[in-house]
Amino acid sequence: MNFDINVSKCVGAGVCAIAAPEIFDQNEDDGIVVVLNAHPPAEQESKLRDAAVRCPAAVITLSQQ
């Protein structure tokens, strides 16, 4: 499962980094999301979904394939 991320709307809340720490981190300089793995393996799908639904700025959108 892949995803798109609209970094310009990220508010740096870091919810993604606790929901899916293998996939997301935050930039030390401004707290903005850093993608660690743009193509997470299938077993991380539930964490990715969790991050997407919890991101308060709704900047993570899931895409098939």
């Binding site: 740096g12 809340a13 870091g14 919810v15 980094a17 935050q26 030390e28 707290g31 308060p56």
Partner: protein, 407 residues
């Protein structure tokens, strides 16, 4: 053409609520499905649209272009309708919109990010240990709120802001009196003025003598638009207002809830459970209650209801967090569940201090239960002073007792 919209008279709002004691006011269960957007009157003298369902709550809080934060989140409860529309005080990001908000928020985001907050763990562990030791040196029963729940988060904030060691007890006293409802209003206001003066001095001393702390970094950081003293003061007061009593109430109410749910308290010592456990407590107890206020700046529709520009909406987080379209068995406390709860809000104003709050609770609650063996509350529930009338829910005084303090 102008049209007059006939509106039905407002319903009576469920404020102050009647929580029982962990559940939302029982009226919300019906309101959420029958009147998801309900016009109600408020103690502050103006009517608001009450939004109580989960998806609608996300829609409102997630759409900051339609719903402004200019009026304080609690204006419908504590405010006065004459103060509506006043310009937001400098630095108080919760009341700023758009670029003005994101400039402040992004400046602070890195200070509150997970990795940065994690560095405070040894400091918080130490603080929690010392305060439990101090409880152990006294004889029960004693008030957990005053002796533990209030001082611990106050001292964490003073560490973050860089309050010098020698001034911490002054800081702690002023902030504790500010929220102590047993004190007369006059004394609380005097305490508020005292903390404003305290911060003004602190900021001046950081400007003269910067250290390794949040305020100094905000002063020193090279930027095209430095923060002035008024903004720094507004920010410091906001961090205290938003981060002190909230965390304190979660500690006190959380302890009581866990004592009433021994099966859940038994899971506290399992670190894997506690990764999600604190969030479940925050969902279940949803202490920021009675609605967070927004003001529509353009006409819009929520759940079929037209909301006009200029009208206010109060999003009832405690109701949304029990909505069975979002969560099954939402009335059960289950520390092992994961959810996209709204206890920290949602959208661009979602709690800035959430990772700090999680860390404090993840340390404080298990330690209280581990070290105070035989921890109990002897007061019958009907005599426990719950904060139904307050902006942030909790317990005003929780007398605890224990058998033995374990090291």
């Amino acid at each position: 053409m102008t049209s007059t919209i006939q509106q039905p008279p407002p319903a009576t709002a469920p404020f102050p609520t009647n929580r029982c004691p962990f559940d939302p006011d029982p009226r919300y269960e019906g309101i959420r499905t029958s009147d998801p957007v309900l016009r109600v009157d408020t103690p502050a003298g103006f009517d608001v649209w009450l939004v109580s369902g989960y998806e609608d709550a996300r829609t409102v809080l997630g759409d900051a272009e339609t719903f402004s934060n200019v009026d304080a989140s609690s204006s419908h409860l504590m405010g006065d309708k004459d103060n509506l529309g006043a310009p937001p005080p400098p630095g108080v990001m919760l009341r700023h919109d758009g670029d003005s908000h994101s400039r402040l928020r992004l400046r602070l985001a890195r200070e509150f990010m997970v990795k940065r907050i994690a560095r405070l763990e040894p400091f918080i562990r130490d603080l929690v240990a010392t305060h439990i030791d101090r409880i152990g040196q006294q004889k029960g029963p004693l008030d957990l709120y005053r002796e533990f729940a209030l001082p611990v988060p106050a001292l964490v904030i003073s560490e973050i802001l860089g309050v010098p060691e020698g001034q911490r007890s002054e800081f702690e006293n002023a902030t504790a009196s500010q929220v102590d409802l047993s004190l007369p209003l006059k004394e609380r206001q005097a305490a508020a003025i005292q903390s404003a003066g305290f911060f003004a001095n602190l900021i001046q001393s950081k400007q003269e003598n910067p250290g390794d702390d949040l305020l100094s970094r905000l002063i020193l950081e090279p930027t095209d638009r430095p923060m002035d003293a008024a903004e720094l003061q507004g920010l410091a007061l906001l961090l205290l207002a938003a981060g002190h009593d909230t965390t304190a109430n979660m500690i006190t109410l959380g302890t009581y809830a866990l004592l009433q749910h021994p099966d859940q308290a038994g899971k506290l010592q399992n670190p894997a459970v506690m990764e999600t456990g604190v969030d479940e407590l925050i969902r279940y107890l949803t202490i920021v209650h009675n609605g967070v206020l927004r003001k529509a700046v353009k006409d819009t529709t929520i759940a079929g209801q037209t909301i006009r520009a200029g009208e206010h909406v109060a999003v009832v987080l405690e109701s949304a967090n029990r909505d069975n379209r979002f969560i099954s068995d939402g009335d059960q406390l289950n520390l092992e569940r994961r959810s996209a709860h709204l206890g920290f809000g949602y959208g661009p104003h979602q709690c800035l201090g959430q990772h700090l709050a999680r860390l404090e609770l993840r340390i404080a609650l298990p330690e209280l239960f581990r070290r105070l063996s035989g921890l109990r509350v002897e007061t019958p529930e009907t005599d426990i002073p719950f904060k139904n009338d307050m902006l942030v829910y909790g317990i005003k005084k929780l007398m605890i007792n224990w058998d033995e303090v374990i090291s």
